[in-house]
């Protein structure tokens, strides 16, 4: 009987040899392709700009973008430049909304499609007013770069960058005014990451920190030191509230660890008692 069953199983195996290579496309998908949820469509801007047909300076654009904060947050070419990333022929067609690269004066409007609060404050600033009145003045990419845009931080304000246009004195005072609040924001970001690593999902605090940070950085773009100093207390108090929540969560985590350890020791202790009791009976 068992030989019969084994024989049937062996015969069952035969079709696999007969259909060798039947699912090679499955293999290639299995091994290499993005796993099918909703498949991410190929972006023709990237594929074309990354190809060997392009001049090196154009190829560098895709490399720079891929290393950027925008890329990490799925902000791809068409979000800024318009056009159709799914259609190779009409990708750069004006009918499909392609706007190309802006003139220096139009950069704030270009970036301001998304960074609304920041561009409003920037246009109120000395930098913004000078730019709009046609003088030589910095725009967004002067400080943040164009394609390799990194997560903004206080380190952008530097003597090397600011002294390209003016002395560093005023910028230094601004940096000092920002320093404590920015350090606190960085510390809170670090602590929230720590909570995530501990298995906590601090979504409310993350949202609050994000909006506080965005408002504070929008305020900074006025380049008005006195305004920043006047409103720092307000932001500090908001950050303190977030900090208190984070500290409370860390305390809760500590409690959880202690409670689980208590249960562990209780069961280990009971186990030892029962084991010794069992040995005695034996």
């Amino acid at each position: 009987m068992r030989y019969l069953i084994l024989s049937v199983l062996m015969i069952f195996m035969l079709p696999s040899w007969g259909t060798a290579g039947y699912k090679q496309e499955f293999e290639s998908e299995f091994m290499t392709k993005t796993w099918a949820g909703v498949q991410v469509e190929e972006n023709v801007c990237i594929s074309c700009h990354a190809s060997d047909k392009m001049k090196p300076e154009y190829r560098e654009i895709t490399e720079a973008w891929q290393a950027s904060w925008h890329a990490q947050n799925n902000i791809s070419c068409e979000k800024c430049h318009g056009g159709d990333p799914k259609d190779a022929v009409l990708a750069m067609s004006r009918e499909r909304g392609f706007v190309g690269s802006p003139q220096p004066k139009n950069v704030p409007e270009f970036c301001g499609k998304c960074h609304i609060a920041i561009v409003t404050k920037f246009l109120e600033s000395g930098h913004g007013k000078a730019l709009m009145s046609g003088h030589k003045a910095p725009n967004c990419v002067t400080c943040h770069g164009s394609h390799n845009i990194q997560k903004a931080s206080i380190s952008i304000i530097s003597e090397q960058l600011c002294t390209k246009c003016h002395t560093y004195e005023r910028a230094k005072v601004m940096k000092q005014a920002l320093f404590l609040t920015e350090s606190k924001i960085e510390e809170l970001e670090h602590n929230l990451e720590g909570l995530k690593r501990e298995g906590i999902y601090p979504v409310t605090d993350e949202r609050n920190l994000f909006s506080t940070e965005a408002e504070f950085r929008a305020l900074f773009h006025t380049v008005d030191v006195n305004l920043v100093k006047d409103r720092t207390d307000e932001f500090t108090s908001r950050l303190d509230k977030i900090d208190n929540n984070i500290q409370a969560t860390y305390r809760e985590l500590k409690f959880r660890k202690n409670f689980a350890a208590f249960l562990m020791l209780t069961f280990a202790g009971m186990g030892i008692v029962v084991f010794l009791l069992n040995q005695t009976k034996d």
Binding site: F26, F30, W35
Partner: protein, 364 residues
Amino acid sequence: MWKNLRHWLDVRIGLDGIIQTQVIDYRIPKNTNIFYTLGFLAVIAYILQAITGIVLLIYYVPHPDYAFSSVQETIMTKVPYGWLFREMHTVGSNLLILIVMLHMITVFLMGNYKRPRELTWLGGGLLLIITVIFGFSGYLLPWNQLSYWATTVVTSMPTAFPLIGEPIARILRGGDHVTGMTLSRFFALHVAILPPIFLTLVGIHLFLINRTGISATPFGKIDDEQRPLTEYKRKSYPEGYPYYPSFFQKQMYMMMAYFAIMFFIITFLPTLNFPDAVNSPADPLRTPAEIKPAWYLLAPYQLMKIIPNKFFGIMLQLILLIVFLIWPFLDTQKEKNVMKRPILRGVFIFLLAAWVVLLYWGRS
């Protein structure tokens, strides 16, 4: 009060008789070892999964828009001790699969699957499969990046079958991709479809164990069970140890050890089952750098990856599974002691080593 209650129950269900036959008079062979408690331990682990699962079920919302937040926000942060129940359920599910696997391995090594216990083995094998399906279906429910993409990988595996593979994958997913429909299906599978099947199988398994009697280990001195067994005879051990208190105590300290290990993991390795991807909601548009299924499916997953012909890969696994389930019917040798069967021992060690290697290979 207690005496009256006991008498009341005895009149109606024969409580005294049950205690007398199943606890006081029930004898265990003298050469049993600690591995004989693994079946009992599995039952305890299943009960714990049911209790913690019911608590989670109260707060869990099986909808793609709310599933993640109901787990990560509501259960983990708002419900008092919700975190403990979730940790116990998650750690417990992994320990449970480990215990059931260990139970099957030890039963195999002691030859306790041999007749008249073929059906007990078959039931146990099916219970192991059900347990893995429990784990696999529960894995998707938190609807995070890890669970979403692990489910996408595993539900793609049946597509290796020609003709029927795609329909199977579509039935599992409720469409071409892992979506809210998949979540509904897996939720129904996890809480409504699997439990009655599981309870029926456990009932049959326990009935068969009770009917045929406990099997003695071949490693000790006493194994007087005669083969072939041609007529029904319940195996009993009049000279053995009473079940209570000696064997009961063994079961109890194994149970305590189980809980101690579980709380050790919760205390010192709370993120063992919760890597970073668990803290992000499922996002079909963003594929994580590393996608892999849960550890108990890593070996089959890796085997699928390394065999060039996928159909052959899945057929090989299916056949190994069938051979595993019907092994007692194929192995008719009288010798129970695997130490006296070098070929079987060699094949077993090879398969176990291959499984471990594939598991680690799949992890890396």
